[in-house]
Amino acid sequence: MELLPALARWIHFLAGITWVGLLYYFNLVQMAGLKAAAADGTAAGINKHIAPRALFWFRWSAVVTWLAGAALLGPHFTDAFALRNGFELIGVGAWLGTIMLFNVWALIWPNQKKILGFVPADDAAKNKARRVAMLASRTNLMLSLPMLFFMANGLSHRAVLGF
């Protein structure tokens, strides 16, 4: 095994687990936890100490995952994104991961900055930001299922899938 693809694969997995793990934390734990915490007046601590740290690792692990994935594809990068030459399955995973990365940086993070008070926003803007960030996060939760299916099966299980 060559060193660079091995390193890229290792980093891709490490960063991907961090990214998707935090995505599942947000969707399965924090959203419901914040709703309960808001009801008893304890949400401020989560918003001040937990969410910013989680979002830091979330957005940057997304970038590292994508870059390591691109390095791993190497000369087959365009074949994957063009869904050709045997890279159709991993290509779908790559497209889904890219859409998820876009959601993180274009929708989730800008709206979380308003929610957490990093940029000024009135209550109406914060409520709208909560809605957009929630739906973008749920979209990524939905996309993570096919993304992981195609990533996991993309290069090694074509016969199992029958093509």
Partner: protein, 57 residues
Amino acid sequence: MRPVLPEALPLVGLIVEHMIGVRMKNPLESVAGSIISGLLLTLALVFFLKNFIVAGG
């Protein structure tokens, strides 16, 4: 007694609601709806790849 099915399995609930003529909801409103949507999207993409991309290449 509150209906359990639409809360536990929103997509199934949505289909049932649709069949009886009640307004559909966004499945991304719930974790379960998002996961069911992801599973259905996986199946749809496998079908799409198998029949329109790989078969055509």
